[in-house]
């Protein structure tokens, strides 16, 4: 009877056959393995020592049945048990485990390795799942060209749409558009951080002197908006100045409902603010605002949510929102109704060119993009965003 620990490679057991063929003990060991449960136990123990309860959990058989199997394996010299506290821990006997592999059994005359079909199939599947999308991204290894834009939040949505159409024509180009305000667009273009800066105003003389070049994308206007339920439809420049300076506080003073005016102003650094202040000859500190907003969308949502609010936004953004039924109304300024046609005809008093800024004359991908914006397709996209493309300006 083989004793625990006696199952070494070529080691002595009393039933060793005299010839060099497989020993009788080897045969005994293989016989002891000829059972599904015992084979599974060895497989589990090949991964590491386990307690009896641990084995029972994994195998889900009755404990007394498990004890019987373990006894058979123990008597064949394949496993060894040791009492550890209240439980017994079993491990493969010395020399039975194959060093370095967690799935091997050395029986002396032969070695067994357990195959893990499920794990292997899973790994294959996972690797496929990860590599397939990456392969699609690479685009046959062709280098992708990137065009980056940043700046005016007024222009960002339109440029994003133009970017998508541009990519449809040039599949190897990726266009990235970020907002952040016109000042950021100019600063980024100056610093060379982006290919094109977006500024919703003309370049200032000092910016041109610093080497920046502006290509007009489209024309846009700045109009005042109020809530749809506000009866006021037109304001004069003086009234606007009075409202924004806090001299006029109630809507009733300008022909509206009896409610205090909620003045919505733009945050610093936005060109819309600068142009607004410049046109009405207001100082930034003189404005008495009730709400300060960051971009056009924020401003429009604020006015749409407050019956007594007044704000100013790009005419393009306002017209687009009106198409979606947002509860705002554009106010006529100095007798001129605010509309894209007025901007197109040059009649609207508060107008501005939407400019794409480059360091020096545009070249390469930037120039291609600008050319695209001036094409009929680009013009159609700009019209869809409610701006007046250069092509259609008078």
């Amino acid at each position: 009877m083989a004793r625990p620990g006696g199952a070494k490679r070529g080691g002595g057991g009393p039933k060793r056959a005299p010839s060099g063929g497989p020993s009788r003990s080897c045969v005994e060991k293989l016989k002891s393995l000829a059972d599904a449960t015992r084979l599974e136990v060895l497989h589990l123990l090949a991964e590491g020592a386990k307690s009896v309860s641990g084995l029972q959990e994994r195998l889900r058989i009755d404990q007394s049945l498990l004890s019987h199997h373990l006894a058979v394996l123990r008597e064949a010299g394949l496993v060894r048990g040791r009492r550890a506290g209240k439980s017994v821990v079993y491990r493969l006997a010395e020399g039975v485990a194959v060093e370095g592999a967690s799935t091997g059994i050395d029986l002396g005359c032969c070695q067994l390795h357990f195959v893990k079909p499920l794990a292997r199939a899973l790994l294959l599947l996972l690797s496929l799942l990860f590599t397939l999308p990456l392969a699609a991204c690479g685009g046959d290894g062709a280098a992708t060209r990137k065009l980056t834009l940043s700046g005016s939040s007024t222009m960002a949505p339109a440029c994003a749409e133009l970017g998508k159409a541009f990519t449809a024509h040039h599949p190897d180009v990726r266009v990235e558009v970020q907002a952040g305000g016109s000042s950021r667009g100019v600063a980024d273009a100056q610093a060379g951080l982006v290919d094109l800066g977006m500024a919703s105003r003309a370049l200032k003389p000092e910016e041109r002197a610093a080497g920046l070049f502006g290509s007009t994308l489209a024309l846009d206007g700045i109009c005042l908006i109020v809530h749809r339920d506000n009866p006021v439809t037109a304001l004069s420049a003086d009234q606007v100045v009075a409202i924004y300076r806090g001299a006029v506080r109630r809507w009733s003073d300008v022909g509206g409902i009896a409610a205090p005016i909620t003045v919505v102003n733009k945050a610093d650094g936005r060109s819309t603010l600068e142009l607004f202040l410049a046109h009405f000859k207001l100082q930034a500190e003189a404005v008495r605002a009730d709400v300060v907003i960051g971009d056009n969308a924020h401003g429009i949502k604020t006015v749409a949510g407050n019956r007594a609010a007044i704000g100013y936004v790009s005419i393009g953004s306002a017209e687009l929102e009106l198409q979606h039924g947002t509860a705002i109304r554009m106010v006529a300024l100095d007798g001129v109704a605010a509309s894209r046609d007025a901007v197109r005809a040059g009649r609207f008093p508060l107008q501005r060119p939407l400019t794409l800024v480059t360091r020096g004359e545009p070249a390469g991908l930037a120039a291609e993009f600008i050319r695209f914006t001036r094409s009929p397709e680009g013009a159609a996209l700009l019209e869809a965003q409610a701006f007046v493309p250069l092509l259609h300006a008078e």
Binding site: S183, A267, D290, V291, H298, T302, G305, N306
Partner: protein, 311 residues
């Protein structure tokens, strides 16, 4: 031979001990490395903030930041105090609103909720905690602010900010308070049951006093989160730089200020924004130290005693 067996046993024991020591050393090394990275990151951020704020601190002077009446970077005025006051007011207000609600929720979950309802509510709380802050801000902008505007224009105000922030800190606060309340030892619970004490007594007179430290720690964590919140307050607070003298006034927090102006600020203006960031970091640090001093957080003595593994 019996001696063979004993010799084997000794050898395998020695191997086991050596393996254990090796894995100990490995784990120790890995955890020390990870901890060092975390500490280094904290110091690096603080050092970077100080470095970027230094020029403006020199140019404007700490007095300038505190004494300037207005925030008008174009005109060279960098008065931060109104915005500091706003940040603090909004955060404290949100906490004052959320803490009683969180307490009530925790008491309900622990004492009175049937198990099915309890798990459903906990799931809802987790969902609420998982909502991104920008989404909550959007909700505030589209729903809350117009509703407030009808009652009291302009709608975007300190009150809107407090409500939105309370919404954001409530779920985490409720979960942490519940954990603190539930940490009553089983022995005490059995003793209370044996004495026939009512559920209200157990919860209010036994669990709550014992949970004071955990609740304080939870409150400080929530305060820290509320101080640092940006997107939501930008959308609902109105962003006018002024002292938070009334609940219905539009105000601007330090974080909203950085968000609105960082993109285009340059020179001293940019440095001033870094100074406000440094201010926020310092105030959060003060909160953390206060929490540790009161015995919450990682420096909790109970946690330290319980945490000594394998000593």
């Amino acid at each position: 031979m019996p001696s063979d067996t004993r010799h084997e046993e000794a050898r395998s024991q020695e191997l086991r001990r050596r393996a254990a020591r090796r894995s100990d050393a490995l784990l120790r090394g890995a955890s020390v490395f990870g901890a060092l990275i975390a500490a280094a990151l904290a110091w690096w951020i603080a050092a970077w903030l100080v470095r970027e704020s230094a020029p403006s601190l020199a140019a404007v002077g700490i007095g300038g930041f505190l004494r300037d009446a207005r925030w008008n970077p174009a005109g060279g005025e960098f008065g931060l105090l109104p915005m500091v006051a706003t940040s603090v007011t909004v955060a404290v207000g949100a906490l004052l609103l959320a803490l009683p609600l969180a307490l009530a929720t925790a008491l309900f979950l622990l004492g009175y909720a049937p198990p099915a309802l309890g798990s459903a509510m906990r799931l809802l709380l987790d969902l609420l905690a998982a909502v991104p802050s920008v989404v909550v801000g959007f909700f505030g902008l589209i729903v809350l602010v117009p509703w407030l505007a009808r009652i009291a224009p302009p709608g975007a105000s300190l009150l809107a900010g407090i409500l939105v922030l309370a919404l954001m800190v409530l779920p985490t606060l409720a979960v942490m308070v519940e954990a603190a309340l539930a940490a009553m030892p089983a022995a005490e619970r059995s003793a209370a049951a044996a004495l026939g004490l009512s559920r209200a007594t157990v919860l209010l007179a036994l669990a709550l006093p014992r949970a004071r430290r955990g609740v304080a720690a939870a409150a400080l964590v929530a305060l820290g989160r509320a101080l640092g919140e940006t997107m939501a307050v930008v959308m609902v607070c109105g962003n006018v730089v002024q002292w938070p003298a009334g609940l219905l006034l539009p105000v601007r927090t330090l974080t909203a200020n950085v968000a609105l102006e960082m993109a285009y600020a340059s020179g001293t203006h940019r440095g001033a924004l870094f100074v406000s960031g440094l201010l926020l970091l310092l105030s959060t640090a003060v909160l953390v130290v206060a929490a540790a001093w009161r015995g919450g957080g990682a420096a909790n003595p109970e946690r330290r005693a319980a945490g000594a593994v394998g000593a």
